[in-house]
């Protein structure tokens, strides 16, 4: 399964055009919504429209981490979507409060719930002195802890989403869930105060036009905690500190991993990179 995902609904036409042009077999889905921003949720008619597209096998709605001031509205929205009776609808949940409070049929836990230490760009430096035992334990997902896994299963979770990072994938293969891996970019952090909104000086929800494609961030000066001032990064820091990508209130890093063998699907974020036949081929071959 390949899922092409976006929260910029003007891209749906280009995405469906690509699906029709490129023969990638069956099991193509379109995902709409956001992991971390309530203002990027599609209107319910838009979800219904996407689900009517003949070229896809299903639609995925991604629901975000949800602050209290939006909580009742998002609960109502999720219940409304669930009631639409959309064929092959999959709902991804990134907020434990939403998962606990809403009636969702076979929900999937997103990256707001499923974590991996490997999403730290310098995880090998952090783990450098630890025993192999500790390293192995940390380079799993939080659901590899059987108590957490059981708890989420008891809450109805049937699938999870992870970053396509090699050790995370290896750990996820051991889980008794359907696993969908995000191709190309791993989430490094989510923020509540939207970095993109602040940067452009446009307040939520009017800022959504600015996060349809990512900003590329290259470390220029570290903020030194000793001197409380900026200083150039030294060579060791420069070596481990990757280029970051900011899309709205989510920070990503690139992942070159192309081995999604054993996964139940890969997800391509069409807001991080323009969808192309090449990306579809790469992501499709990774499974």
């Amino acid at each position: 399964m390949i899922e092409l995902r976006t929260s910029d609904y003007s891209k749906i036409e280009a995405i469906t055009g690509l699906i029709e042009d490129v023969d990638i077999g069956s099991g193509v889905r379109i995902g709409v919504g956001s992991e971390a921003c309530v203002h990027k949720l599609p209107a319910t008619p838009e979800i219904a429209q996407v689900s009517d597209l003949g070229c896809i096998d299903g639609v995925t709605l991604i629901t975000p981490i949800t602050p209290q001031k939006h909580f009742d509205r998002v609960c109502g929205y999720v219940n409304e979507v669930a009631d639409l009776g959309i064929r092959n609808l999959r709902i991804v949940v990134n907020d434990l409060g939403i998962l606990h409070s809403c009636e969702i049929d076979r929900p999937v836990a997103g990256r707001g719930i499923v974590h991996t230490s490997e999403a730290c760009p310098w995880v090998d430096h952090i783990l450098r002195d630890e025993s192999d035992y500790v390293k192995d334990a940390y380079l799993q997902t939080n659901l590899n802890y059987s108590r957490t896994c059981t708890l989420l299963k008891d809450m109805g979770i049937e699938g999870i989403e992870i970053d396509l990072l090699p050790r995370t994938v290896a750990a996820a293969r051991r889980l008794d869930f359907a696993v969908y891996a995000h191709f190309g970019y791993a989430v490094v952090a989510y923020a509540r105060s939207c970095h993109t909104a602040r940067f452009y000086g446009e307040l939520p929800p009017l800022c959504t036009q600015f996060c349809n494609s990512p900003l590329e961030l290259e470390l220029r000066d570290i903020f030194d905690l000793e001197s409380l001032s900026f200083a150039p990064p030294d060579a060791d820091v420069a070596e481990v500190f990757p280029v970051l990508y900011l899309l709205g209130n989510t920070i990503y890093m690139k992942s070159d991993c192309c081995d999604a063998a054993g996964m139940d699907g890969v997800i391509v974020n069409c807001d991080m990179c323009a969808p192309s036949s090449e990306i579809l081929r790469l992501s499709g071959n990774s499974i």
Binding site: A36, C37, V38, I65, T66, P67, Q68, K69, F71, D95, L96, G97, L99, H100, S101, C102, H115, S117, C120, P121, V123, I126, L127, E130, V134, A137, Y138, N142, N144, Y145, S146, R147, T148, C149, V188, A189, Y190, A191, R192, S193, C194, R198, F199, C207, L215, E216, L217, E218, R220, D221, I222, F223, L225, F230, A231, P233, V237, F241, L244, N249
Partner: protein, 302 residues
């Protein structure tokens, strides 16, 4: 509203208690780790030895100060479970008063351990809404530490859920704590600084150098009257592993400001006090890193 302060040694504990903390929180180093820990913080942020922890607990209890024990690792695995149980029991046996837990499975495990101590849900669980509070209550939590980035109206709404709420007063992260992997102060041998407050070259059409990820909020003094009125259980100061003198001074200032508010002082009186008596606070005011007031950072909350 209690003032809760960090401690990472007997010396810090004495300092923050003498400066006016009503409660303290701390973690304990663990010999199975080099840089990491089960306390939610890395090397150098925790009480070094069990005997020092016992000394702190005794000193605090003699003064009626409760001690919360941080076992809030955001990550646990089957392989680490026995180690975690031993680590929790070290604190329990030392006489701590509550356990701060940061992982759902760990919360279940601690319930099964039946330590007799209250369980507090860590900030690392990212409890943004009423639904999650209900979930954590069902898992045995008796207090919730709310995320760094909350609006006053949200804290007020969540306070109606009938559970104690603890919120952050001083300092805090730019990103959502339990989801941020820009890990620092975890025993690294290279100087990563504070990645979220660093300068980045923003590429593409923009081409600009900017601290674009900096959404740190550092101060809540002017909001103390509102927080008292809402009924927040504790106001927490961040700072395990930070400079002891600075933490002690911050605790002293918060103590004075809470007392001022309890005596009827409004935000204006608090601000006047702190800027007159503690001129260095001017720098924080100028940066507008207010946690619960309207600023460009809080205006940009999704």
């Amino acid at each position: 509203m209690n003032l809760m302060a960090p401690a990472d040694s007997f010396e810090t504990a004495i300092g923050v208690i003498e400066a006016g903390a009503d409660e303290i929180y701390l973690g304990l180093e663990n010999e199975n780790f080099v840089n990491l820990n089960l306390s939610g913080r890395g090397r150098g942020c925790n009480v070094p030895t069990l005997s020092e922890l016992e000394e702190i607990v005794e000193f605090a209890h003699e003064r009626g100060i409760p001690v919360d024990y941080t076992v809030n690792t955001p990550f646990l695995s089957d392989e680490l479970e026995e180690m975690f149980i031993s680590h929790v029991m070290a604190g329990v046996d030392a006489g701590v008063d509550a356990l701060i837990v940061g992982e759902l499975g760990a919360m279940q495990l601690i319930n099964e351990m039946d330590t007799g101590l209250p369980v507090h849900a860590s900030v690392l669980l990212n409890t943004f809404n009423y639904g999650q509070i209900e979930l954590l209550k069902s898992l045995g939590a008796s207090k919730i530490v709310l995320p760094f980035k909350m609006e006053l109206a949200e804290i007020r709404a969540l306070s109606e859920s009938g559970i104690d709420l603890e919120i952050f007063g001083q300092f805090g992260c730019s990103n959502i704590n339990g989801t941020c992997h820009l890990i620092h102060s975890a025993g690294e041998s290279i100087n990563l600084g504070l990645p979220c407050r660093s300068n980045y070259h923003v590429g593409g059409e923009v081409q600009r150098v900017h601290p674009i990820l900096d959404a740190g909020t550092d101060c809540s003094l002017c909001s103390i009257p509102d927080l008292l009125e809402i009924g927040v259980s504790a106001l927490k100061i961040v700072g395990r592993g930070m400079n002891h003198e600075m933490i002690r001074e911050i605790v002293h200032i918060y103590r004075r400001c809470i007392d001022l508010a309890l005596d009827g002082g409004d935000p204006g009186a608090i601000r006047e006090y702190v800027l007159t008596e503690e001129p260095f606070w001017q720098m924080l005011c100028e940066q507008r890193r207010c946690k619960y007031l309207k600023t460009p950072i809080t205006d940009s909350y999704v």
